[in-house]
């Protein structure tokens, strides 16, 4: 799993944006399209190339009623999965 200090960012050519037709967030990548679930959307909104994995977990822990450890696991798993798919890199 990615380190807490690792800084995720979208790979070149990847766009995370709101789609008006679906009224939902979409992740657009070269010849791939992902419709992230609510948890992933909250995580991806914080991917800015500056925040590290730990800082993303801190932010979410302050806003959502869940233990930081659990959130950190979710953040790591979500971002690792998208890294394997080529949408995110550390």
């Amino acid at each position: 799993m990615s380190d807490e200090a690792a800084i995720p960012r979208f790979r070149r050519g990847v766009k995370f944006r709101r789609d008006a037709v679906r009224d939902a967030w979409v992740l657009l990548a070269p010849e791939k399209l992902y419709l992230p679930d609510e948890t992933a959307v909250e995580i991806l909104k914080l991917v800015d190339g500056e925040r590290c994995v730990g800082a993303i977990a801190d932010d979410l822990a302050a806003r959502f009623d869940a233990p930081r450890d659990l959130i950190l696991t979710d953040v790591g798993a979500t971002l690792d999965d998208l890294a394997a798919k080529g949408a995110v890199q550390f």
């Binding site: 037709v21 679906r22 070269p30 399209l33 080529g86 890199q89 550390f90």
Partner: protein
């Protein structure tokens, strides 16, 4: 949802496995820029998120830049699927200014003489290498696509190494799909079992080695499958393909299917075509499925496989995809491999004038 626009069937290359139909659309029948723009507008309103400008060779259209700019202005993610031989420095700069998001560049081989032979275009491979460099220098993500078959698959490691050296973000190792020109040349192109095994192992090893650096998409040949592929992600489920002359198709090979009238985007709105046309609804979902598909646990995984293959091999578009081991016609796939084993490697090149 994705929209594939085959802007033209014109192409400087003559690949014998081209995915275009055997009867190609004449240049004079192609939609004009305003018609393509209307299709893009309708697609965006319908919920299409990505548009793939394809062909033929899409860069052969003088208005490609204008169309990319229009799509980009509608918020569509724009992709060009190109041979790269016309992607000059000036073309690259204009496409970048128009807001292109990604380019997929095709290669015929990693070895120059073979690549030029298979593409039927002398000097083509060198132009592709230049195009790849331009794409990466422009800061765009690059997908290097290699179509593999009996005559080049033994060099798969060199292909992956080339993609890596060019700075690709994605590599596609795609076995030929046997429709149209590929089907015509099947006996000369089908890989042998040991070749497929070698290729699959090489891709697996490269994926492990290149984890986090680039991703490799691997498309396997149906002829060795036990279960069919989810062709186009399911009929009328994820993609609309528009031919150069404006026919809306559920997949690029669908024109081989008899008994269909494919609606034209010239006459009918895309939303209408998508929702109500016989062409898009006949094999959508699972209610059309024959036995054993309709009771199969995988029916919403593979959506019954490929209708064009069912027609081409089993003779009936509504039958079980013969790629499936449960198809009564599955043995025809093995027979095709047996027939290919000692067949001549001579290829019929793709030509606008036809076979």
């Amino acid at each position: 949802m994705g929209l594939i626009l085959e802007l033209t069937h014109r192409c400087p290359l003559q690949c014998a496995y081209c995915s275009n139909p055997l009867t190609l659309d004449a240049p004079k029948s192609e939609l004009g820029a305003d018609e393509w723009k209307r299709v893009l507008d309708e697609a965006a309103a319908l919920g299409v998120l990505q548009v793939h400008f394809s062909g033929g060779e899409p860069v052969a259209r003088r208005d490609l830049v204008e169309l990319v700019a229009h799509a980009s202005g509608r918020g569509l993610y724009t992709n060009i699927i190109t041979s790269g031989v016309l992607l000059t420095e000036a073309a690259m700069a204009s496409l970048l200014a128009a807001g292109i998001d990604h380019i997929q560049l095709s290669f015929q081989d990693a070895e120059v003489a073979e690549a030029d032979r298979l593409g039927g275009y002398r000097g083509g491979h060198a132009k592709k290498l230049e195009a790849a460099k331009r794409i990466r220098e422009a800061g765009l993500p690059l997908t290097a696509n290699f179509v593999v078959h009996r005559q080049n698959v033994d060099r798969v490691e060199a292909m992956i190494a080339l993609g890596e050296a060019l700075g690709a973000d994605r590599i596609e190792i795609a076995h030929v799909q046997y429709y149209g020109w590929g089907l015509l040349n099947r006996s000369a192109l089908l890989p042998m079992p040991d070749q497929l095994e070698h290729c699959t192992a090489a891709v697996q090893a490269a994926r492990t080695r290149l984890k986090g650096v680039l991703t490799i998409d691997y498309v396997v040949p149906d002829y060795y499958a036990a279960r069919p592929k989810a062709c186009m992600g399911g009929w009328g489920k994820l993609f609309i393909n528009v031919s150069p002359s404006g026919k809306a198709l559920p997949c690029h090979a669908a024109e081989t299917l008899q008994g269909f009238t494919f609606p034209s985007v010239r006459d009918q709105a895309l939303a209408d075509i998508w929702a109500t046309s016989d062409a898009f609804t006949r094999f959508r979902g699972d209610s059309w499925m024959p036995d054993p598909c309709k009771s199969c646990d995988r029916r919403e995984i593979d959506w019954g496989g490929c209708r064009c293959q069912a027609l081409a091999i089993a003779g009936d578009a509504a039958s079980v995809d013969p790629a499936c081991a449960l198809s009564p016609d599955h043995d025809l796939m093995r027979q095709a491999i047996d027939q290919a084993r000692d067949a001549s490697p001579a290829l019929t090149p793709r030509r606008l004038a036809g076979v």
